[in-house]
């Protein structure tokens, strides 16, 4: 345990080995009113089975068939999966989804956490900034995509206009129409929408007692040390949760790419959702459902890996303590 944490623990401000990870289970009193519980759960359970579990099973089963949604299904074994993994477009889309997940989890979340830490110290105008950062979350994705299309446009876009105006004509591009720039350009615009995660992290950060920071300050810890040794350890649970969410969003990313590039140019920005959508348009439901299954499985694997990794780290750090 670091010195600041040791001091806080010695003063009884931080539990030495208390539950720190949201996965820790508190003791639950067994409720014996099972009839009432079942009665209450029944409506939602029915809807859940009908509208989630059944479609999930249906998607999985039909992923092994050739089916246009109208004629009878024909069993195709692993044919759809084989075709997908032999397709350059699908492999590229799969790789792009992984990149989306990594960038959102490892860049967007640190940005959101950093901003939450700054705002939590309530600098001048912090409420205004909080609103500004959250604002994109209440604007439709379509409107935002249209705005970025206008920013990136090669002929009349704001970005090229800006570069031209400061004499950097050589840096102008058809941002969404070139191999080198299209994918970074689509990811870049999404990175700034930190508002949702920032608010979640900020809410947790606000829950940390100010006395911790005051005690640390008395002991000579500067702001960075306070954030590193008080805030981050205490926000560990919420950081893992937001990172998991962000990576899950990355794995199933679709909207802004579809709206801005439709996967182009030459599939360079394509993601699995776009390939799935194309198959739906072509009435190839078997192949579309195979992609759906891959999306669900890879999403689950990414989340499980993340939980395992951070769970292992948490156990290791507690063992050291």
């Amino acid at each position: 345990m670091h010195s600041v944490e040791k001091v806080l623990a010695a003063r009884g401000l931080v539990a030495k080995t208390g539950p720190r990870f949201s996965g820790d289970r508190p003791m639950v009193k067994r409720n014996k009113n099972w009839k009432q519980i079942i009665l209450f759960l029944l409506p939602v359970l029915t809807l859940f089975l009908l509208y989630f579990v059944y479609p999930l099973i249906f998607v999985f089963v039909t992923s092994f068939t050739e089916w246009n949604g109208i004629s009878a299904m024909q069993f195709k074994g692993l044919g759809n999966y084989k075709r997908l993994f032999l397709s350059d477009t699908f492999r590229l889309s799969f790789r792009n989804n992984i990149l989306w997940a990594l960038v959102l989890g490892l860049v967007q979340i640190p940005l959101a956490a950093g901003m939450a830490m700054v705002l939590a110290r309530k600098p001048r105008g912090w409420k205004t900034f909080r609103t500004i950062y959250f604002l994109p979350n209440v604007i439709s994705q379509v409107a935002l995509a249209m705005m970025w299309l206008a920013v990136y446009n090669a002929e009349y876009g704001m970005l090229n206009g800006l570069l031209n105006s400061v004499g950097l004509e050589q840096l102008t591009h058809n941002w969404l129409g070139e191999y080198e720039t299209a994918f970074p350009a689509v990811i870049f615009q999404q990175l700034f929408y930190i508002g949702y995660f920032m608010i979640v992290i900020l809410a947790s950060r606000m829950g940390i007692p100010e006395s911790f920071y005051e005690a640390a300050e008395i002991d000579g810890a500067n702001v960075l040390q306070q954030e590193a040794h008080i805030t981050i350890p205490m926000l560990r649970g919420i950081l893992v949760t937001t990172m998991t969410l962000a990576m899950a969003f990355g794995m199933r990313h679709f909207e802004s790419t579809y709206l801005m590039t439709n996967g182009g140019p030459a599939h360079q920005t394509s993601v699995m959702g776009i390939v799935l959508y194309r198959n739906l348009e072509a009435l190839r439901f078997g192949e579309a459902n195979a992609i759906g299954t891959i999306l669900i499985v890879t999403g689950g694997v990414v989340i499980a890996l993340l939980r395992w990794f951070f769970g292992r780290k948490a156990s290791a750090s507690e063992t050291v303590q």
């Binding site: 009113n33 009432q36 009665l39 209450f40 029944l42 409506p43 809807l47 246009n68 949604g69 109208i70 004629s71 477009t89 446009n153 090669a154 002929e155 058809n174 969404l176 129409g177 070139e178 191999y179 299209a182 590039t261 439709n262 996967g263 182009g264 140019p265 030459a266 599939h267 959508y277 194309r278 198959n279 739906l280 348009e281 072509a282 009435l283 190839r284 439901f285």
Partner: protein, 421 residues
């Protein structure tokens, strides 16, 4: 214990009663309500007249039939919605679809209403020759031919004159000379696009070029045929040396159409449904727009592209009242006077015959479209009507690759072929 049960019961009721009440209120009116999810709303040039005709139909059939428009202004989203509804066997009462190889799959099974018997009578006589035949598969006519498309070359004569061009080019070699003159005058020669679901403008340029080289039956040839390779070479040149705008790669229909409307490009391709938009948003361009066929690129000059653009269809039903309502509405929408009203207002062309008299204000640009078809040496179709939607979607992606110098014309075609296979 009792409170728990009451609360649980209330929860169940809250989840089930609203749906039950909604269903009952529809049944109580005694009117047959037909839901019509349609794309002819919002900015669509046909929206105004279509809405008026629906309202008029509802007034004439008050207490009997009622058509409710469900607005779906996003064409691609609409297509996906219809695909899903047909697959789920929840076909809308009325809908519109593009008659292409993918959408004709709707005909399989018994999910669509068959109009063959009704069309065999007097109703069938209102349609132009061959239209019903094109909508009939195995003796079943499960859709009504409606809007047709003609997509000639549009050019802005004022921009041509500004560049010192006095005559529209006759051959593709002349076309490049005109392009050079336009560029020298600071005008971009053509509107192009690789984006959208079908790279519409460029797909039409390619189709015109291919037909000019290979004739109206060019689509019978395999996509890797040298005719298509030659067409791809010409299309690639249109993307090179400033012959199109910088944002053409990745650009969608808004980009290619927008440049023409803004007077930035001199040549463009689209159908008559775009007339209303040009007239309203760019009157100067509208005044100066002329219609032509592609300058000859091969042995088949003077051709035009004509095709069925939208068919009307309906979900099959055993409900006699609903069937009666669908038939009444289909007949209403295909009445020559009603079709004429939509056509006059929007510029769109239809598979329904109607007469125009001296008192009718036929749009001059629309008349040029009609003349273009009448004067054409032949009328063929385009790439997107021949291949399924996933192949059509690949066209734009492969074109972007070629335009960016990452694929040769032969590789461009090979990429499309890989999806056909």
């Amino acid at each position: 214990m009792k409170t728990w049960k009451i609360l649980a019961l209330l929860l169940i009721l809250a989840l089930t009663v609203p749906g039950f009440l909604l269903a009952q209120s529809a049944a109580e009116t005694g009117e047959t309500v037909l839901k019509w999810p349609t794309i002819w709303v919002g900015e669509d040039s046909k929206a105004g007249e279509v809405e008026r005709l629906v309202m008029e139909f509802n007034t004439l059939n008050e207490g009997k039939y009622q058509v409710d428009i469900e607005a779906n202004p996003d064409y691609d989203g609409y297509r996906t919605k219809i695909n899903a509804q047909v697959a789920a066997n929840a076909v809308p009462d009325l809908f519109v679809f593009n008659p292409d190889p993918t959408s004709f799959s709707y005909y399989e099974g018994d999910r669509l209403m068959d109009f063959a018997d009704e069309l065999a009578g007097d109703w069938g006589k209102v349609f132009v020759g061959g239209a019903i035949g094109d909508a009939t598969i195995n003796g079943e006519t499960k859709s009504i031919p409606y809007e047709i498309g003609v997509t000639p070359i549009w050019y802005n004569e004022a921009l041509m004159v500004k560049a010192g061009v006095t005559e529209y080019p006759e051959t593709i070699d002349d076309f490049w000379k005109v392009a050079d003159k336009l560029k020298a005058a600071g005008i971009v020669p053509t509107s192009q696009m690789t984006g959208g679901t079908n790279a519409w403008t460029s797909m039409l340029w390619f189709s015109h070029i291919a037909m000019s080289i290979g004739g109206p039956k060019v689509w019978d040839k395999p996509i890797t045929d040298p005719v298509f390779e030659k067409a791809a070479e010409i299309l690639l040149k249109m993307y090179s040396d400033g012959n199109t705008t910088k944002d053409a790669v990745g650009g969608d229909a808004g980009v290619s159409g927008g440049h023409y409307l803004a007077g930035r490009t001199a040549m463009f391709i689209n159908g008559p449904w775009y007339i209303g938009r040009v007239r309203g948003e760019a009157p100067d361009v509208y005044e100066n727009t002329k219609i032509a066929s592609l300058p000859a690129a091969g042995d088949y000059p003077g051709g035009q592209i004509g095709f069925a653009l939208s068919n009307l269809a309906a979900g099959a039903t055993d409900n006699a009242a609903k069937k009666g309502g669908v038939l009444a509405f289909m007949k209403w929408m295909t009445e020559p006077e009603n079709v004429k009203a939509i056509s006059m207002d929007s510029g769109a062309m239809f598979a329904v015959k109607f007469q125009t008299g001296a008192g009718d204000a036929v749009d001059p640009l629309q008349k040029k479209f009609t003349d273009a078809v009448n004067d054409a040496s032949f009328v063929g179709t385009h790439f997107a009507t021949v291949y399924p939607s996933d192949v059509v979607a690949e066209f734009g992606q492969a074109l972007a690759k070629m335009a960016l110098g990452r694929a040769t014309p032969a590789e461009f075609l090979q990429q499309i072929k890989s999806v056909i296979d």
